[in-house]
């Protein structure tokens, strides 16, 4: 399908008052404040424009969009002139024609006349507009001043900047500021000397540019253009799909020339991203065709053998035989599966179905185990559903934003930009994080409060904030009385008001000054709409689940639930964390978060699937690995996940994998886990998938096949084939049928179908009879569980403490340009920004150890050690070190421990006691 997005010139306006006017004789009614340009576009009156685009505020610089308004002198610009009641506007008159032609003549007098050979030929607004105004000749001397010899900046790996083609419309500069919020670009100079510029003395690569592509997107000419378009030509067809990186779930239009992907363009209609993108989704898709891709199935008897390329049939039969044999020898529960948050809902659903129905066990878990399982647990306990409460757009209504253990500008950049936009407008910001993340202070953004806590003391800090709210009398009594379970509130209130939960009592534990906690609590409680956003810095702790409930308590106590601008919102790591959880990947839950012991739910699945399902939970990933080491668990199907790199205490993971008789890895690349696999099943990149992803705001987005699967088979098809070979056929004609089954069996998905998604773009679950178009904000009238449940949240210190031997606390995170274990991003040009994992260490800690900036160091914990280079940083406090885990060579998870969340076993990645020593030489 090819959908050309119309550009209405200026952003939509929401206003209570409507005004009616006439444009070129056509009547129209629009919200007050709407520009004449937008209104004209809505009646299909074509007003030429160059500096205007509906993703940016009106600017009024190009002067092509001049119109006449009856009764008013002059020719105002339609982009900056708002509609007024009773106006009569003429957009096409001889006078306007002449003016527009005159303006265009000026533009072209300083532009290369190389349309036919220009890489944007056919995709250039300047070219279009010159045609639209009917410019035939340029009367100015071709010897006049010009910029035709201005140079090119090719430093960015993905796009070029050709200044000779620039018309100085400032769209790129405005996009970088308004949309992305990075402010890497400016206009330098003035008058005729005005030019788009990065900071003094920098090219694009050395500038603050984060390569989000907003400038390229905004550029109406070939000035800022994707190198892929220059190389491959202007695209000829388009397919709308969804990015497969982070949990924001941006909608993109994949633009192809023939069957070759030319570029990915963010979709303005995208519910999650509204036309914005980041460097990963926009540009880092080259891995999909990387030479490392494995496209044929492979098997081997032992992991010491070489791989043998085989046909699909042989591989599938080999897998089924091995699994069956294990079950025969060691029992039904000796095998299991792991689903992946990178796969579609449909792919995940069939894997868990295969495990439950074909394997006959509940030993299925998902990689969300190691990231957001505490979110599911905590929000279900308190609110009644395992999901974030808001849509992303909600942040636009927040007055105070509380960011805890998340780094949106790096890990969720497109949402980060939305948040920054709201912050620039004046929302107050509280950051609770050991690190001074970008949001704490970056151009035009600053946190009013940064509670720089000691890693592992989240619960203590949020308890202290809640203590202040309760003891200062800032509880939203009406909300609590009407919406929450009052008994549980009273118990919580008594608990939280205890002196031991006061900021003063906890100051030494948390390292956060009591006064700062009190001020932050006041801001959150009193600013108006308080919204909490959090990430893995909350969940990946021994008290991850407790912390999620502590935040939910705080939000309920202050009445910050159930309307736009508030809520408790997990920022999901991978594209389909929400979906993989929704699809019944947890060993204790069916799709839609129904416990396996729930007889009615089980009966429903029993009858639909024609099997008798088990009513007690299966093993979680760490249980499986422990059981493998114990010799009781011997076969594993791993869908698109690299547990030998991404899971904690790698030595333990490797021991478990080695102990198994059958490890099946389904992936794009021969990953670390595949070193221990017996069967390798080539997977599909997101460009080859047909299905849906569900993002962090519960938004179900379509993933459409852009190119056919390189392996010749869909991933769900492979799963179904194995299931069939195991004796349980799962005959689906296509992915849509899988979704139909999900909808039929899952009340929150009852209204979802590919047909609906193709029609409306996306919906947020619950989507059913009560909410046929989905639910942007949850718990509006009542909580899903009825009344909001307060849960007491005692602070229990982690066992992982700094000791004399391991005096530093290591915490980990992500960086913008790389993604998780880097399997994808490391196979793109993104490595120019982050070629290796680096340890951030405070200058005092470095000095005490004789470590200088850039030195190689050895970092060791009680379970292992690794080497990397050090960077002296003032973004972290003394006593804390920080690194990313994107590169297998640095093996960060060699040193993370088995500690995990008490309720969900989510690993405690964020706290590891370590020591750092200078080290000679590179690598391991």
């Amino acid at each position: 399908m090819t959908v050309y997005e119309r550009d209405l010139g200026t952003p939509a306006v929401s206003a209570e008052t409507q005004v009616s006017l006439t444009i070129d004789g056509m009547p129209i009614t629009v919200p007050e404040g709407t520009s004449i340009m937008r209104a004209a576009a809505l009646v299909n009156a074509a007003i030429p424009k160059l500096c205007a685009t509906d993703s940016l505020e009106a600017f009024g610089s190009c002067r092509l969009c001049l119109v006449e308004i009856e009764g008013r002198p002059g020719t105002p610009a339609s982009c900056t002139t708002p509609c007024q009641e009773g106006m009569t506007v003429n957009t096409q008159t001889p006078r306007l024609d002449k003016l527009r032609k005159g303006v265009m003549e000026l533009y072209i007098s300083d532009h290369p006349l190389d349309c036919l050979t220009c890489s944007a030929n056919g995709d250039c607004e300047l070219q279009d507009m010159a045609g639209a105004v009917g410019l035939r000749e340029v009367r100015y001397s071709d010897e006049g001043e010009n910029h035709l010899s201005a140079g090119k900046d090719e430093s960015n790996p993905y796009f070029t900047f050709d200044a000779s083609k620039c018309i100085v419309c400032s769209r790129c500069v405005r996009a970088c500021s308004e949309v992305q919020g990075t402010f890497a670009l400016t206009i330098a100079g003035r008058g005729f000397g005005s030019e788009v510029s990065t900071a003094k003395g920098t090219d694009f690569l050395a500038s603050d540019c984060v390569s989000c592509g907003a400038c390229v997107q905004a550029c109406p000419t070939a000035t800022l253009q994707e190198k892929s378009v220059i190389d491959r030509g202007v695209p000829s067809r388009k397919v709308k799909t969804t990015c497969a990186y982070c949990g924001v779930g941006c909608s993109f239009t994949a633009e192809l020339r023939g069957d070759e992907l030319v570029r990915m363009v963010p979709d303005k209609q995208g519910g999650a991203n509204a036309g914005h993108s980041c460097v990963k989704g926009r540009f880092a898709w080259g891995y999909a065709n990387h030479e490392d891709r494995i496209t044929e199935p492979m098997i081997r008897d032992s992991i010491d053998d070489e791989w043998r390329v085989v046909g699909w049939e042989e591989a599938i039969q080999f897998a089924a035989d091995r699994l069956k044999k294990i079950q025969a020898d060691h029992g039904i529960d000796a095998i299991g599966g792991i689903t992946s948050s990178r796969c579609t809902n449909e792919e995940v659903y069939v894997v868990q179905k295969m495990v439950r129905a074909a394997f006959g066990t509940n030993n299925v878990d998902t990689c969300a185990r190691v990231c957001h399982s505490p979110t599911g647990y905590g929000l279900k306990q308190t609110f009644g559903t395992s999901a974030g409460t808001q849509d992303f757009a909600s942040v636009q209504d927040a007055d105070a934003i509380l960011v805890i253990g998340a780094n949106p500008t790096d890990a969720h950049p497109v949402f980060g930009s939305r948040m920054k936009r709201r912050l620039r407008e004046g929302a107050e910001l509280i950051v609770i994080d050991p690190r001074a993340i970008d949001l704490v202070r970056s151009p035009h953004i600053g946190a009013q409060h940064h509670l720089q806590l000691r890693p592992g003391t989240n619960v203590a800090v949020v308890n202290a904030m809640a203590h202040v709210v309760v003891t200062e009398g800032w509880v939203a009594e009406e909300f609590v009385n009407e919406r929450c379970d009052v008994e549980s509130f009273k118990a919580w209130e008594r608990f939280i008001a205890l002196p031991e939960n006061s900021p003063e009592a906890l100051e030494e534990t948390t390292g956060v000054p009591a006064a700062a906690v009190r001020e932050a609590a006041e801001t959150y409680a009193k600013a108006g709409n308080g919204a909490i956003y959090y990430g893995l810095g909350v969940t990946e702790h021994s008290q991850g689940s407790t912390m999620v409930m502590a935040m939910a308590n705080l939000a309920m106590a202050t009445g910050n639930i159930g309307r736009p601008g508030v809520g408790v919102n997990p920022l999901r790591g991978q594209n389909n964390v929400q979906g993989s959880c929704d699809m019944g990947s947890f060993p204790h839950e069916f799709a839609g978060y129904r416990h396996v012991s729930d007889d009615s739910a089980r009966a429903l699945f029993d009858s639909a699937w024609g099997v008798s399902l088990r009513g007690e939970p299966g093993m979680r990933i760490p249980n499986m690995l422990d059981a493998a080491v114990a010799g009781k668990f011997r076969g594993l199907y791993v869908q698109g996940e690299d547990i030998a790199q991404s899971d904690p205490n790698i030595h333990h993971v490797e021991a478990a994998l080695k102990a198994m008789d059958c490890v099946i890895v389904q992936d794009l690349f021969l990953n670390e886990t595949a070193r221990f696999a017996h069967i390798f099943l080539p997977g599909t990149s997101f460009l080859e998938k047909d299905g849906t992803f569900t993002n962090a705001e519960r938004r179900i987005n379509r993933v459409r096949p852009v190119v056919p699967p390189l392996s010749g088979m869909s991933e769900w098809g492979v799963t179904c084939a194995i299931s069939e070979a195991m004796g349980y056929p799962m005959p689906y004609a296509d992915a849509a049928e899988i979704m139909d089954e999900i909808a039929a069996l899952t009340p929150t998905f009852a209204g979802v179908s590919f047909a609906l998604l193709d029609e409306v773009g996306s919906v947020q679950w619950p989507c059913n009879g009560e909410a046929p178009m989905g639910t942007p904000v949850m718990h509006e009238q009542r909580f899903v569980r009825g009344e909001g449940q307060f849960v007491t949240t005692p602070y229990v210190p982690t066992d992982e403490r700094s000791t004399r031997r391991y005096p530093l606390l290591l915490t980990t995170g992500r960086i913008l340009s790389q993604y998780n274990v880097g399997a994808q991003t490391r196979r793109t040009e993104n490595t120019v920004w982050h070629a290796e994992d680096i340890l951030d260490i405070h200058a005092a800690d470095a000095e005490a150890r004789g470590v200088a900036d850039g030195d190689w160091i050895e970092i060791s914990s009680r379970v292992g050690s690794t080497r990397m280079r050090a960077r002296l940083s003032d973004e972290i406090p003394a006593g804390v070190v920080y690194t990313t885990f994107h590169h297998p060579v640095s093996g960060t998870n060699v040193i993370t421990t088995d500690n995990s969340d008490w309720a969900t076993n989510c690993p405690e990645y964020k706290v590891t006691a370590v020591e750092v020593r200078p080290s000679m030489g590179a690598g391991l």
């Binding site: 610089s61 006078r95 002449k98 005159g102 008058g191 009013q448 108006g528």
Partner: protein, 510 residues
Amino acid sequence: MTVWFVPRDAAAKSMGADGIASALLARGEEVIRTGSRGMLWLEPLVECASERNGSRVGWSNVTVADVNEDRLDTDHPAYLGEVDLLTYLSRQQRWIYERVGIIDPLDPQDFQHHGGLAGLKAAMAMAPADVLEAVKTSGLRGRGGAGFPAGIKWQTVADQEPQPLRGQPSRATRHKFICVNADEGDSGTFADRMLMEGDPFSLLEGMAIAAYAVGADRGMIYLRSEYPEAWDILCGAIEAARSEGWLGESVLGSNFAFDVEVRLGAGSYVCGEETAMLESLEGRRGMVRAKPPLPAIKGLFGVPTVINNVLTIASVPGILARGAEAYAALGCERSRGTQVFQLAGNIAQGGIVEMAFGVSARELVEDFGGGTLSGRPVKAVQIGGPLGAYIPPDQLDVPMAYEALADAGAMLGHGGLVVFDDSADMAEQARFAMECCAEESCGKCTPCRIGAVRGVEVIDRLRQGDNIETQTLLLRDLCDVMKQGSLCAMGGLTPNPVLSALDHFAEDFR
């Protein structure tokens, strides 16, 4: 005891006033530094009185030698007699400039003794709404060029709620601003400078009245950096006004809080345009903003803002002190009150002439100005600054008033008249207008950014005699695009001098 009065006005200083003051001080005389009387061809004009507030006699073009050799007596050829009686001054109707040249600009007592502060006191005895009414009744219009009624602008600001500064939380302190545009960049104008250097308190008083009327709490003066003397004096005046309690938390002991900050421009003509000025005051590139929103609704840092020119604000204390009707009684048609005309360029008697609207350009150039400095015939007078039209001598009878000038295809602008004698090459002047626009364009809108450069090039070709008819047509088309298509007055008015030169002095283009 004899008191000497020596101006510290920048123009007087440019002719050596400081040397005279030093010489007098060296002789042990009491010297009071004042503003300039505005008869600039007489500078340094030194005055003397037997007591501080006595009548003053003066000498023109005084030299250090005159002082050192004790020649300043009634026999001196440059002896002027009683200065107030000089026709140039006595014919004027000084309202804004009544104290300029008379008082020590930084002496609060001197200011009050000569009627200062009466306006603010009168205003604060009234309800803010009545102050607004008075300003409306007076018929005062903006002196920056556009001539918008000040009272209506103030009313718009008064009608807005104060707002937190852009980007600040809704819980932050809310403000409204009074901004004074003192970026007097037009060639041929210097009345703002002389007022600020001669009577800065009147400006602060006017700002305080405006603030009281509209409910503003902060004032900003945007002063061009080319005026270092005015900067020193304004800074001193603000400090003095604070210590007098005229500014600050409690203006004149009341609950009304208002304070003023002065900021310097940095060499950009377009920052005289009000929205570019706001950008510059916010510390950014001086790029013109599209309107709406009007600055009265979203102005400095996004909050409701009154923007007035120096002379507009300085007119206000008198309106409150002497009554709106007295002000409205001056002038003609919808141009009420007085205008401070500035006679400049090739003129024998250049300086300040404050008269009620309606005086003719000819009276100003010939009667006050005494014709050209060179003694040659007047060829053209550019009225209203660099963006004003060049008027040939036969059209000089036009009354100096908003409507009359507009009818004559000219504009009042900031009230400056620049005289050229018959040696001027008007094609060169037309080219210069384009060149200046190219040099000073903010670069935002296309007609100004590219058009001005092309304008220079087309005029060059015209002057080379290259295809005159085509190039003339192209120039007129270009002027049309700039006039109707530009975002702000700079690009929009640059065609004025160009087309007037082309229309009235076509022979200069061959």
